[in-house]
């Protein structure tokens, strides 16, 4: 709730970043901490709104005014308690969330919004530093066993919630370590992997079992899980990457962003080195190359920052949509999430951004290696039915010399192996079919949450889905549940 006149007295302040030339020499996080007093002042800017729109804008329903007030009162322990009451992993969202809460902040109507995400990160980091985040194993065990497939933020959140309710939880992960995209997608400079390990240690001590390197559907059948456990939660993400069906896709030097990022993260962590030679795929490196990243989203940004750190000669970023304005579009007024130009820290590190551009074909040299790509400018027009249509502008074809092209085009849904094995339906969009009402699929006892149910989305949504699904699984097993829910009030996208 902060100080009554705090917003009139203090300016917004968030963590600043190290200079580009310094931070791109390594893969570590590069923000500079605020002093506690500075964070407290940021808490003081919160206005104790009668309707805290931030609380509605946050998919987790974070009790933002309440932890802001606790920070302002220097009650860091209470702040951490309030924060964890709705968010299992504020250290992830505090670093990675695009903060829809801040877009919905009342102060943001006509001033810079409250630095909610910075406050969130500071609360949790302080709590860890002070040893306040300790394993809290359940006092009683229910005797029920739950298998969770996929250890991304949705799976982890569900695991912790269900374990708290006393169930025995086993998390299956096909990679070597848990974390999903947090570990294998997000570069270290945005989230150092020790941050994940720190939290996993707590989860393990609370009694959650992790079985890594186990690919459900291959190493163990989904049916087996289904028979052996009282409930199964599928939270394996939307891992089917969108591709292009254009000439030259097969060329050496055209790669999916996730292949590139995952390999880079494993290189940084040392996981790659420890792999046996036959397991290792060919290196995808941007070093000394001209890199084109196709796709202007967060994954695209991660490719840019990683390429620059690998020593790319130059990096260009394509986006098929026109450049958005800095201000909110009129049809997406406060407090709704606006599509506007966002410049990531990776963009700042030196990438040319090109908008309204579409890739026509990849051009190879005689050795089958990527040499250039050809593009055309596009414009967007409304069809008579009111749909936006992409129209190529004749005569705007252009060739871009490049040796590495990374496709960061988003994801088209869930992999199908487990779904087919268990008989879980998919939606038209390729996600597992389970409603937000109860997260249950049509197969009794099988639930779905996170990107695998929702389609590609934010970490904050994954955690939210994991928590909500946990409530419904608990209810399914025990007829009622005392697990916390966020309550209605999510702001829709307009």
């Amino acid at each position: 709730m902060g100080k009554t006149t705090g917003f009139l007295e203090y300016k917004r302040k968030t963590e600043s970043s190290l200079p580009v030339e310094e931070r791109t020499t390594h893969y570590k996080e590069f923000t500079k901490k605020l002093r506690p007093k500075e964070v407290q002042n940021q808490g003081a800017r919160c206005m104790d709104c009668g309707i805290p729109f931030c609380h509605s804008g946050c998919p987790l329903g974070n009790l933002i005014p309440d932890f802001n007030d606790a920070v302002y009162q220097e009650n860091w322990e209470v702040a951490a308690q309030i924060l964890h009451s709705t968010n299992n992993f504020p250290e992830f969202t505090g670093r990675l969330c695009p903060a829809p809460c801040e877009e919905a902040c009342v102060l943001g109507i006509n001033e810079d919004p409250v630095a909610i995400e910075t406050i969130e990160k500071n609360i949790v980091e302080r709590a860890f530093a002070k040893g306040l985040i300790v394993p809290k194993p359940p006092q009683h065990r229910s005797g029920k066993r739950i298998a969770i497939v996929g250890s991304g933020p949705a799976g982890l959140a569900a695991a912790q919630q269900l374990n708290r309710a006393g169930h025995e939880v086993v998390v299956f992960e096909r990679n070597e370590k848990p974390g999903g995209l947090l570990r294998y997608g997000i570069p270290d400079f945005k989230l150092e992997k020790k941050i994940i390990d720190r939290r996993l240690e707590v989860l393990e001590k609370e009694g959650i079992e992790f079985r890594t390197g186990v690919h459900v559907g291959f190493d163990i059948s989904a049916k087996e899980l289904y028979n052996e456990y009282d409930a199964v939660l599928l939270s394996g993400g939307a891992s089917v990457a969108r591709s292009l069906s254009i000439e030259g896709m097969h060329l050496d030097g055209v790669h999916q962003a996730m292949d590139f990022l995952s390999q880079s993260n494993q290189r940084v962590s040392g996981e790659l080195n420890s792999k046996k030679n036959e397991e290792r795929k060919a290196d995808i490196l941007a070093t000394d190359k001209r890199v084109v990243v196709i796709g202007g989203g967060d994954t695209g940004s991660d490719c840019i920052g990683t390429s620059i750190r690998q020593g790319a000669e130059e990096v260009t970023n394509f986006e098929i949509m026109p450049m958005a304005g800095l201000d909110r579009p009129q049809n997406q007024p406060w407090p709704f999430w606006p599509m506007r130009l966002r410049t990531s820290s990776s963009h700042e590190e030196g990438a040319e951004r090109v908008f309204s551009i579409s890739t026509k074909k990849f051009i190879g040299d005689k050795n089958g290696r990527l040499r250039a790509l050809q593009t055309v400018e596009v414009k967007w027009e409304k069809s008579p039915k009111g749909r936006l249509q992409c129209i190529e502008v004749p005569g705007t074809e252009k060739e871009w010399p490049c040796e590495l092209a990374l496709l960061a085009l988003g994801f088209t849904g869930s992999e199908k192996t487990i779904a087919e094995e268990l008989g879980v339906d998919l939606t038209q969009r390729g996600n597992l079919k389970a409603s937000e009402e109860d997260y249950a699929t049509d197969v009794p006892g099988v639930f779905a949450a996170g990107d695998q149910r929702r389609g590609q989305s934010l970490i904050v949504w994954a955690i939210s889905e994991g928590r909500e699904a946990a409530y419904h699984i608990d209810t399914y097993l025990m007829a009622s549940s005392s697990l916390a829910r966020k309550g209605e009030g999510d702001l829709p996208r307009v």
Binding site: G50, A104, R164, N331, L491
Partner: protein, 845 residues
């Protein structure tokens, strides 16, 4: 026998007020005490020790209960205890008869079974199952501030966002989504109207329904003063309502006369409704003359029994000017009107205001409560043109928490009761019935109309349309969207436009038209009171809604076909019989040529409010400036009726040789009033009462010289008039904020209570004042400074010259020896404000 209650549950003021009201002698709220103790021991209460913290809590509760008692008008806990001044909503009579006998409960509702279920649910969440599942010890709740999963609020993030998007981008579809969020309450019941559904459909084509432009003429915006909200927000509402022929309301803060004139673009910032509330801030002849409707606020739905308050920091120079008060001095409206203690008094005020502007309708604002029907019948007989039934859940974010939740009743009950009583007594056709209190959609309006209302007030919704985001910090002056603030930096952030408000009214009217078409009404007039078109919704998924019985609301009195269900005729005010029309006919040289004119008339005590009509005529021609001083002198012989010199404006001098009744100089607006003992009389003026009670109530400027004693409540809420009187009754100068009162004799008990401005000079040769006036907020000083001496001497000289008062003569003749017997009464807050203004002036220079 004393009843002592020990319980974990009491924690809010309302709980204590309720328990005392039903007879508890003492309450031990042990859980609250334990929580406070634990918090204090953890050092979370700014190092207050546990014992002290509990004492602080007790004090806060005590003050809260005191405030509740004060609203009801009870002074001691002993009188309040067991008073049972409650009405239940939603509890069945089986429970009420057994545990709360004789408490009204009109619509039945939950029984012991549902109550038990709720208790066991609470118990379950505290003691049942695994308790370490949530890591906040207690849920935040969301009673006063919205939280997910907490108390439901009709205005929540989505409904506010949708409404703002709809009106700003003029999107009918988005309005429909908003209206759906408000209207469909089957899953989360929040209002009585949520229980209704329309029935007896008899559809007609939409085109046959009267156009929206006709409907919005029945729409009004709520009484929110300039002061409580910013100039920008206030004018925005006025412009919008004037554009569509609806009415905005000044609220009780007066209005800058510049707003009375249309600007060149054709927009008009004038508030069609001018409110007259207990504070009478800025109520002058000119103000009233520029109204289309004058609203007497008897009470406020959201905080019945309380007056408005404007904290000092919000009273900037502009506001002080509009309210005729001093900058930085907080303004408190007294809970009651000091000129209304009975229905006859109200009738008198209606007559006074009708005299002050006979073209304006007089509107009396009542709150929904049990018995409002009887009151409405009385008000209709007292000749109100419009009766407003105000529901409980309206009101500003500045309402005290004790009033926000548990005071007042839904308008559904009040409108239904008023309609039924007025119809049964065949009074309904004489008055217009208006309804307000969180009307948000066309469906709300349709229900209010079917229950008996024909005009409709909106306050929160048009503010939300103008940018309000329900911060609920209206009292803190920190509104971040420039609405409820006077901070210039924040006022700049106001982004509302008249078209936003117009769009809102348009959307509501359109939604109403669609409902009218379905039900078969071509005009709102046809629709008023047609309760047979309403029924109870069959399927409502709410545990406590099952036992509710709406038939008392949906009752339609059986009356003959000639008894009207809506307003069809005008009240007979009898203004045309006033002697003032004769005066006006003779005063033409003064009125139109500003020629000094002196006229003599006889007067009797049935001649009421003399001076108001002629002042209205002067205001219409000359505005607030009036005529040059002393242009028209009217000398009356006889005994003047009530409200002599009411709202009398500048340029008038009104002399009575004889005496006057109550309310002399009510709302005095610049005229000079003289009441003196006739020359042939042998009475000693200073020993005899020459005028009645409540003189100069709400006077804003002018002078009064009273050659004798006055009754009680002299100069209450005076904000600018200068008066000399030779003695007064009790409660003199209460709530005074400006002007000067010279009292040359007795001054009664309770002098200067709530006085926050102005100066009183009291002749007190026996030194009794310090004994009788123990108000720590008042400075009692000797008349020593040059300015004080001059003022006092001048007023005494005027008094002597105008009335030939022997007392004044004596005092002036012995001035040097008598002067030390005068005490200057100077409110401390006023002194500080004057000092601050003086400092600001010297800085400017």
């Amino acid at each position: 026998m004393s009843l002592i209650l020990e319980s974990a549950e009491p924690r809010e003021v309302h709980h204590f007020a309720l328990l005392f009201g039903f007879g508890a002698s003492a309450i031990n709220p042990y859980l609250v005490n334990e929580i406070i103790r634990a918090e204090a021991e953890k050092g979370r209460l700014e190092n207050t020790d546990p014992h002290e913290a509990i004492l602080n809590y007790n004090k806060a509760v005590g003050k809260g209960v005191l405030k509740v008692m004060n609203k009801i008008g009870i002074s001691t806990l002993n009188s309040y205890r067991g008073s049972q001044l409650f009405e239940c909503i939603g509890i069945n009579s089986k429970v009420v008869d057994r545990f709360f006998p004789n408490t009204p409960t009109r619509i039945e509702g939950a029984g012991l079974y549902e109550i038990e279920k709720e208790i066991s649910r609470r118990h379950q969440s505290a003691f049942g199952g695994n308790t370490n599942l949530t890591s906040v010890p207690l849920p935040i709740g969301g009673e006063y501030r919205w939280r997910r999963g907490g108390e439901k609020h009709q205005f929540n993030p989505l409904s506010v966002a949708k409404l703002q998007k709809a009106v700003r981008s003029n999107e009918p579809q988005t309005y429909k989504e908003y209206a759906k969020l408000i209207n469909e309450q089957s899953k989360q019941l929040m209002t009585l109207r949520g229980l209704f559904e329309f029935t007896n459909y008899d559809p007609i084509p939409l085109e046959e329904v009267e156009p929206w432009t006709e409907i919005v003429k029945r729409f009004k915006t709520g009484a929110m003063s300039y002061g409580s909200i910013s100039q920008e927000a206030h004018e925005n509402l006025a412009i919008a309502m004037n554009r569509i022929g609806g009415k905005s309301n000044s609220g009780e803060g007066g209005e800058n006369p510049e707003r009375f004139y249309r600007n060149q673009g054709g927009d008009w910032k004038n508030s069609a409704i001018k409110q007259v509330a207990s504070g009478r801030f800025g109520v002058s002849s000119n103000y009233l003359s520029n109204a289309q409707e004058i609203q007497i606020k008897m009470a406020q739905g959201a905080k019945p029994g309380e007056g408005g308050q404007l904290p000092g920091p919000k009273v900037n120079k502009e506001i002080a000017k509009t309210r005729n008060s001093t900058p930085y001095v907080g303004l408190i409206s007294p809970p009651p009107h000091h000129d209304i203690y009975s229905i006859e008094d109200l009738s008198q005020l209606i007559y006074d205001l009708k005299s002050a502007n006979r073209e304006a309708r007089i509107n009396v604002k009542l709150v929904s409560e049990i018995g409002v029907g009887t009151i409405a019948a009385g008000v209709a007989k007292a000749k109100a043109d419009v009766i407003l039934i105000s529901g409980h859940d309206g009101g500003t974010g500045a309402s005290p928490l004790t009033s926000l939740k548990h005071a007042g009743l839904p308008w559904e009950l009040g409108v239904a009761e008023a309609q039924q009583t007025l119809v049964m007594n065949d009074l309904r056709s004489r008055v217009v019935v208006e309804c307000d209190g969180q009307l948000k959609t066309g469906r709300d309006v349709a229900i209010a109309c079917l229950l008996g209302a024909e005009e409709f007030g909106f306050a929160t919704a048009p503010l939300v349309a103008s940018g309000c985001v329900m911060m609920r910090v209206c009292h803190l002056n920190t509104c971040p969207v420039g609405i409820a603030t006077q901070n210039p930096q924040l006022r700049k952030k106001f982004s509302g436009k008249p078209e936003h408000v117009v769009n809102f009214m348009y959307f509501v009217a359109q939604e109403l038209r669609e409902i009218m078409a379905k039900l078969g009404f071509r005009t709102v007039k046809e629709m008023v009171g047609q309760v047979q078109k309403l029924d109870r919704k069959p399927a409502i998924d709410h545990m406590k809604a099952q036992g509710i019985d709406l038939s008392p609301i949906l009752h339609r009195p059986k009356v003959g076909p000639d008894v009207g269900l809506c307003n069809t005729e005008k009240q007979e005010h009898g203004i045309d019989k006033s002697i003032e029309f004769d005066i006006i006919a003779k005063a033409h040289p003064a009125l139109f040529r500003k020629e000094k004119t002196s006229l003599e008339f006889g007067i009797k005590n049935t001649d009421r409010a003399v001076g108001a009509i002629i002042s209205n005529e002067i205001s219409k021609i000359y505005g607030a400036e009036g005529l040059p001083e002393n242009t028209l002198k009217l000398i009356f012989e006889g005994s003047a009726g009530q409200s002599f010199g009411a709202f009398a404006t500048r340029g008038l001098t009104m002399v009575v040789n004889g005496n006057t009744n109550d309310y002399l100089g009510k709302g005095l607006s610049g005229a000079r009033l003289v009441v003196k003992v006739p020359e042939e009389s042998t009475l000693v003026p200073e020993e005899n009462v020459i005028t009645g009670n409540v003189c100069l109530y709400g006077a804003t400027s002018g002078e009064a010289y009273i050659n004798g004693k006055a009754g009680e409540r002299f100069c209450v809420r005076n904000s600018g008039a200068r008066a000399v009187v030779e003695g007064i009754g009790d409660h003199g100068c209460e709530y005074m904020t400006g002007g000067v009162a010279v009292i040359l004799g007795e001054f009664g008990r309770n002098f200067g209570a709530g006085m926050s401005g102005g100066i009183a000079y009291i002749y007190d040769p026996k030194g009794q004042l310090t004994e009788n006036c123990q108000n720590p907020d008042l400075n009692l000083l000797l008349v020593e400074e040059e300015e004080d001496r001059r003022t006092l001497q001048e007023l005494l000289q005027n008094h002597y010259h105008l009335t030939m008062s022997p007392l004044a003569q004596r005092l002036l003749e012995n001035w040097e020896s008598e002067r030390p017997h005068f005490i200057k009464v100077l409110p401390e807050e006023y002194r500080q404000a004057l000092q601050r203004l003086e400092e600001e002036r010297s800085v400017e220079q």
